[in-house]
């Protein structure tokens, strides 16, 4: 059902505001002027660069162009779209929306700009672009356990190694220790198992099937997000070439049974 205006005081005392043609034409001329200005600004920048051989910083172009665009947008919103004469709620809706856009762009750019940044107080442990340790390098590194607990004297061993030695003493022999370990983690040889108790105890007969547990490692850096040099322990690999190669490569099943350290 539709309603029709039943009372005879419709249209009521105040009609809707009508923007005059003078204002509309005036706004158009101002907009055209600003378009001319922004093009002039661009050409002036080019001329300054070529004539005086100075390189203007990037923000001159961006801030100049965006300020003029913002002024034009505000004029369109206020006069052509009528926000000046309209309920404040509509303006609020658009402003809140623009705030959300600013959040979106702002935080995303913060991440993309500082993706490779390492805080100075962590510089000792974390290296730009990764430490370059591959799956084959043992993960026991004294550098990671350099700050020892004041109550334990590990006699120079890393805390991980120290605990392992304690457990070996508790079990009686190294073989007993590894037997205890491999009972719980039979899939792969532990990197610290240098005497290959993995084979001696009979755990190495399993066939390695590709399954969801084994993630395919990818190395290399996305250009633009990280700087070119990447200190790796293996000087033969070129990380940037690796990145270009690996990025779109299909999954290659890599069976690698000196896998990650499963101690957890």
């Amino acid at each position: 059902m539709t309603n029709h205006d039943t009372t005879n005081h419709e249209p009521h005392a105040h009609g809707h505001p009508v923007v005059s043609w003078q204002i509309q034409l005036g706004v158009l001329l101002v907009l055209l002027f600003f378009t001319f200005t922004t093009v002039l600004f661009y050409n002036a920048e080019n001329w300054i660069e070529t004539a005086f051989q100075i390189h203007l910083p990037w923000w001159v172009n961006v801030i100049g162009a965006m300020s003029i665009a913002t002024v034009k947008a505000i004029l369109v919103c206020m006069f052509f779209m009528g926000l000046k004469y309209d309920k404040a709620l509509n303006t609020f809706a658009m402003l809140f929306c623009l705030f959300c856009v600013a959040l979106f762009l702002g935080f995303s750019m913060i991440d993309l700009d500082t993706r490779d940044r390492v805080d100075t107080w962590k510089k000792g442990e974390i290296v730009l672009g990764g430490t370059g340790k591959g799956l084959n390098t043992p993960s026991i590194d004294p550098a990671f356990d350099s700050t020892l607990s004041p109550t334990i004297n590990t006699k120079g061993l890393s805390i991980v190694e120290f605990n392992r030695q304690q457990k070996i003493e508790q079990k009686g022999s190294e073989k007993a220790y590894w037997k205890y370990h491999y009972k719980k983690h039979p899939d792969h040889r532990h990197p610290a198992d240098t005497n290959n108790y993995f084979a001696t105890l009979g755990y190495d007969h399993q066939i390695n099937l590709p399954d969801a547990n084994k993630a395919v490692p990818r190395t290399g850096l996305t250009p633009g997000l990280f700087h070119a040099t990447d200190p790796t322990t293996d000087p033969t690999t070129d990380p940037t070439a690796q990145a270009d190669q690996d990025a779109n490569a299909s999954t290659k099943a890599k069976s690698d049974d000196t896998g990650k350290d499963h101690e957890s």
Partner: protein, 587 residues
Amino acid sequence: MTTNDHAHHEGESYFDGPPGILAKVWQWMSTVDHKKIGVMYLVAVLFMFFLGGVSALAVRFELLDPVRTVETLNEAGELVQHTTGQRLAPLIDIMSAQNANEVYNRIFTLHGALMVFMFIIPSIPASLGNFFLPIMLGAKDVAFPRLNLLSWYIYVIGCLFGVLSILMGGVDTGWTFYTPYSTTTDADHWRVILMILAAFILGFSSILTGMNFVVTVHKLRAPGMGWFDMPLFIWGIYATAVIQVLATPVVGITLLLLIFERVMHIGIFDPSMGGDPVLYQHFFWFYSHPVVYVMILPGMAIISEVISVHSRKHIFGYRAIAFSSLGIAGVSFLVWGHHIFTAMGELAAVLFSGLTFLVAIPTAIKVFNWIATLYKGSIAINTPMLYALVFLFTFSIGGLTGLPLATLATDIHLHDTYYVVAHFHYTMMGGTVMAFMAGLHHWWPKMFGKMYNEKTAMLGCIIVFLGFNLTFFTQFFLGTQGMPRRYANYVDEFQTLHIISTYGSWLLLLGFLIHLGTFIASLVAGEKAPANPWGGLTLEWETESPPIEHNFHHEPVVTHGPYDFETTVPPHWDPKDFPLPENPSSH
């Protein structure tokens, strides 16, 4: 607008219509009545919940045991190996997948996509919100009834695209469609693109519903109802609608860019061309984090109503709850990076971590207010109240377990483990679904004019509660011990917990089947419901059960607040049955 109500006179419920099956079907297909649209959405989302639940049962079934390679002797006495534990292997041929892992991947993606896009986002707003928002405001309909119908049809089309993708075998990218896998997998393009398009189309439905609700709340309140006289259900739905309007377009452009990345290889998510796959995650989570608040805010809105009515007590801290709804909506836009901690730069990670802690504050305010409402209330023990209490328990666990995920150091260990899975199931299922159940039972008599069997419903609630906790509490331990999510296979030590979790899922199935039986029995043979079975004070309890076509006989004028239980006899109640205290405390 024209409605097709010329045939019947006032006083008949919205269910009654023209005689003849074809005429009835056409009436429902072309209706602009928010109640009918709400009921259609309700049936659809419950169906999608069922489908998503079946895929969840399949996921849990696979996880009963890990994949093992077993050596046995065959008849000839030779040592042979075969693989056990791949319980979904029979589906490999049906889905034309390569191996059982791919089948598993497709099924959990199906579970996620169905549950997130087709069930939980529309669930409460589109069904209960559509039905009760106008009635609670005292209006005849939402602001744009035809747009409402369009929303419904867009939802149906989106679901059809999704179903089409599923029928073609489904996708295995996960419901989050992370690049670079989603842009490179499946040389046969159509499945992934169809699923992405389904999500894109469903987004439009969400946006239009959100727009409708925002304008309705601003413009269609009854005379005498200011902003702070509205029921808190409205505040929750309003905050939800604001998020839907602002956040959903971003996932629209994200999915569009994803499709173009697949089809045209535009390169913005491809590292070999200089793009960044994590940029996709920023785009995706800018929507998907606010959307989890789209999921929970309506649930919280229901809880405010149910707790107040069923403890017959004025809600504690009305303005706090109202503003915290808006606060959650606002802060939800600031925190999306906490889904990407392990892939982001440090500075951004620190910023997002700090902001994420903020969002716990308005949420906690609500929980404390609900508990304070219960205190010294006259608590009725019925299904809505039971579900509200379940909600308080399970949602609090969900919320608190979000804190280790918001903390950078612990998130490194917990990211992409079962801890996250348990966390979001406790908030989404232990939160939204429990609240949805509470709301369904609370408003069922009003919507359909029939009471349901309270005993079987309470039994269903208890079984659902037990099943839910069995299923998901174990997963916290699985996660802290290192079980990764989305893995079909796992190390032996996790098996016990996985078995418990699967048994819990079967209990959940039983509980929901009991509820389904209760609802069907109610529709078929339930006793007729009075207009106000629970003694509520909001405007929907003034109408008949079920309401007439235009909701009210005369435009309602609001003379009391929505929770003034101490000073007002509820509509349709005999004052003898509702003694008011002599000295009402002031609120």
